[in-house]
Amino acid sequence: MIVETKSVQFQSITLDSGAVIAPVDVAFETYGVLNSGKSNAVLIVHAFTGDAHAAGISKEDGKPGWWDNMIGPGKAFDTNQYFVLCINVLGGCRGTTGPSSINPETGAPYAMNFPMITIGDMVRLQKMVIDHLDIRRLLAVAGGSMGGMQVLEWAVRYPDCVAAAFPIATTARHSAQQIAFNEVGRQAIMADPDWNNGNYYGLKPPARGLSVARMVGHITYMSDDSMKEKFGRRFRNKGAAAFTFDDEFEVESYLRYRGNQFVDRFDANSYLYITKAMDVFDLAQGYPSLAQALERAYSRFLVISFTSDWLYPSYQSLEIVSALRSRNRDVAYCELSSNYGHDAFLVEVGEQTELIRGFLARVYKDAA
């Protein structure tokens, strides 16, 4: 399945903060065919550093999508049955307007003049794309991690537009620990002299800072067990310590590699803006309680967490489930067994496929 990223431009979007971005470009991909009743659309919302390329092989660079093992003919999100779409988030750097985009008022990249964005703003922009495609109701909105936050926001903000909501490995609000890890990432970027208060476009980007931020991120995405299994205390060469500060351990080498690789595909200012949007997100904001926020939602929920995910631990999923149950909302919950830590939602395909394929089929059948 060769796919191409599409793009749509809207005149403007007014943000939760009141600021306006005009115009705003949005990158998205679609897979499968929208049926005549437009009742088979499934929106996949991506995680922090994801993009619109969720499935298939990219026409531009030949790479598979970030959830290609879950989306496609016969897969969990079966493109023979459903029309699946994925949209790059507002503030991103993969086709949708973000800090690296040109500010038409100045003719230069926004950089730190880009307004603060929220998860709610991301979702509102996605809704504009859905309206643009003339889809009234989504069969499902699904995503992991920051994607899960958007799923929750969708279900609460647009209760009539979401038949089923699949928040995976996520939370209704970040804990102090989650904010803390994001802050380390932000400080690593800002401590890099090349960051230059965000004005590095056309110059040397803050590669060292951004790669350190990514290294920290990768540690939080894995688990003690998965790191033990993947690296242990193994050395890259010779099988013994040479007592240097080179990347002697396999784990050091891996983190450096992933950090350096990340710099080529991600913008440091996007990192700052998006992590801040995640930290500020609180689904209960504006409501007396999380339960009262979720009371607005009428979707069928399928909440999934993973045993070894210590970044988005199961208690955070249970908090969502408990709030939904207290308002008599329809919710299925399962904690899947995995050693992969937070990465599990990208890696543990088999069991997620069973859950999602069957549950989605039922929702589709009942909606017909």
């Binding site: 308002r327 329809d330 299925a332 919950y333 859950l355 394929r357 069957g358 929702v363 059948k365």
Partner: protein, 213 residues
């Protein structure tokens, strides 16, 4: 009741599909388009049947991760959790029916569970194996050991059953607690028994409600 769910065909079908007499009774009791919670719902086969044939809104609670996964894959909204604590989140009278099928004897605090069920459900359907059945009494009498029968096949040390009750025990509890028994069914295999149920019934199914909802 809708014509599509006339008692007899429904009962025959549910027996074919599920192969369990207590499920057949439950399938008969539940009104169409109601809201149903099944505790210890296993792979969700009863709720799926009720969704398909009675158009109910179903939910379940199940402790085993494997079974929860199978139930969700059927499209049933199952919560992975413990029945003994699993109901606290629900508001009062959240469901039309709360079902506990052959699991009461496995809960740690059966009275608390039943009270919680009557709080969150307008009606409670509870099915349990009858420890007063003559085979159980006989097995105990002749062997002098913890009875093992077809209905209670476990060794005492690996039995999931932690409370043993008879139909007489349950009737007494209903009286003490002032629960209203709306209907009662006694089964031997897949057949109804009418006389001496505490001796002849293997399984009892009760439809209860609270006196003061």
């Amino acid at each position: 009741m809708a014509t599509g769910s006339a008692p007899l065909p429904a009962r025959r079908l549910i027996k074919e599909v599920l192969g369990r007499g207590d499920y057949a009774i439950i399938g008969e009791i539940v009104e169409p388009c109601s809201k149903v919670l099944d505790l210890g719902c296993g792979e969700g086969e009863l709720i799926e049947w009720l969704m398909d044939h009675k158009r109910v809104t179903g939910a379940g609670v199940e402790i085993s991760r494997e079974r929860v996964q199978l139930a969700i894959a059927r499209g049933v909204s199952v919560y992975q959790g413990d029945i003994d604590q699993g109901l606290a989140d629900y508001p009062d009278q959240a469901f039309d029916y709360v079902i506990l099928s052959q699991t009461l004897q496995q809960t740690l605090k059966p009275l608390k569970v039943l009270r919680e069920m009557l709080r969150v459900g307008r009606h409670v359907i509870v099915a349990f194996p009858n420890f007063g059945h003559w085979r159980v009494r006989w097995a105990h009498l002749v062997s002098g050991r913890a009875p093992r029968t077809g209905l209670f096949p476990y060794e005492w040390y690996d039995s999931p059953n932690v409370h043993f009750l008879t139909i007489e025990d349950f009737e007494a509890l209903c009286g003490e607690q002032e629960w209203v028994v709306e209907r009662r069914y006694f089964l031997s295999g897949n057949h109804r028994v009418k006389s001496l149920p505490n001796l002849t019934a293997e399984v009892a199914v009760y439809l209860l409600r609270s006196m003061h909802p």
